[in-house]
Symmetry: C2
Subunit: 255 residues, 2 copies
């Protein structure tokens, strides 16, 4: 049965998509069967990996919210070999209204059940989520059993950390399994005191749940995205690859 992990933070641009892609790839290199799902209507993960968003026939929207084909049929192979992804689609914009209008008690049960159909085929399912306070983010929290919060080492991003941790607590009423597996500090510029101060604040507030590994600020992650590859494919022996491999190791220890 797969570990289903929502990669989420209401704050924008903290490295959710970059983390989803690179952590998934690192888990594959560690021998795990992994699938990514793009739950963001902007479909950035899909465009990162060069997967054409599912078009014409069923998209992820129909499979999760309609009468579409099962998600297994939407899976696409990507790099490194063994990594799969379900492409996103702007159709997901339609999910906001649908979810808002659904009766609260069973608002997420349909998409959650359809998403969990994938769990027998994989060891990990990683869900990339949109920023902002959207229903799709809550849908990801309902379908997942674990949460990883990428967190930029910047003061302005701290405001979002409080909001997402509050929402995780709230979602436990709907999804009692849900637990915070880790807060991943990202984009640290080691030359600055400010980033170190923010890291210190987060470690003091959240303790052990914060991953020991911190992802450095590095243009190599941006270059890898331009090349459409996870960092471990783009620069296999680089320290930027090592950082996400270390996160994967820590995650595997946190059952």
């Amino acid at each position: 049965m797969a570990r289903i992990i929502a990669v989420i933070n209401h704050k924008g641009g903290v490295g959710k998509t970059t983390t989803a892609v690179n952590l998934a790839a690192a888990l594959v290199l560690a021998g795990k069967r992994v699938a990514l799902l793009d739950l963001d209507p902007r479909a950035d993960l899909t465009s990162y990996l060069g997967l054409v968003p599912a078009s014409g026939e069923d998209t992820i929207y129909e499979s999760l919210f309609g009468q579409g084909r099962p998600l297994q049929e939407l899976l696409r192979a990507t790099e490194p070999p063994g990594l799969f992804a379900v492409p996103g689609s702007t159709d997901l914009v339609g999910a906001e209204l649908l979810l808002m209008q659904a009766p609260a008690a069973r608002r997420f049960s349909g998409p959650t059940a359809r998403l969990r159909n994938l769990q027998e085929d994989f060891d990990f399912l990683l869900l990339d989520s949109p920023p902002g306070l959207q229903m799709l983010s809550l849908c990801a929290l309902s379908a997942a059993r674990e949460v990883i919060i990428p967190q930029q080492c910047s003061f302005l991003a701290l405001h979002g950390l409080r909001q997402i941790t509050e929402n995780i607590k709230r979602m436990r009423q709907v999804n009692s399994d849900l637990r915070l597996s880790g807060i991943l500090l990202t984009m640290q510029d080691r030359r600055t005191v400010h980033n170190r101060q923010v890291i210190e604040m987060v470690r003091q507030a959240f303790g052990q749940v914060v991953f020991r590994t911190v992802i450095p600020l590095s243009v190599r992650y941006q270059e890898a995205a331009a090349a459409g590859q996870p960092i471990c494919v783009y620069a296999p022996r680089a320290p930027q690859t090592e950082a996400y491999a270390a996160v994967a190791k820590e995650l595997l220890k946190r059952k």
Copy 2:
């Protein structure tokens, strides 16, 4: 009559809030009367400036979408002297459903009229918007007459640039005044080729509409946010302040 400018990009973390605050402050130092409005339900601009989100009585939500007090009464003074801001509120989350359910023809006319009531009192109104494909972003595009798109110099952020420019075109059907005043390239790390390549791509695709000034990647902007001040108050003579002063100068020339 104020120039009403939506600071917007569907991509997260590209510097929308940082640009709204610092550009507004630079315009005040250039002698203009300026007000900021926080149209993001997460209220990051409000927490940046240390303004307690409007609570208890009317929030921006009631003033824009309900029968609340006029926005003039919600204005708060902030730094530098002469800059005002209407605080945001998580109540704005309620606007998504309200706007989706409103008949398309007059979906934004109420909030647009109420927002434009401020235009006699100021030279500039800057609207900070949320990331993602949300109705509140469209509401900002409906109320504004101009758009500034902060754009991170990173390949992964280019996908969002296409999406926002397409939505601006679409919104012209509802708001024929709407024009793109500028694309502001942000967070350039001058040490990297990648950022320069992305800048080149954006200048080639959009030409003159891209501001000549590029905002550098600098922790000083994060420090200023931690201090709750615009960069021109936090570090008055620093190059980071000069960069937004130069953007303000360019904007004043683009009538």
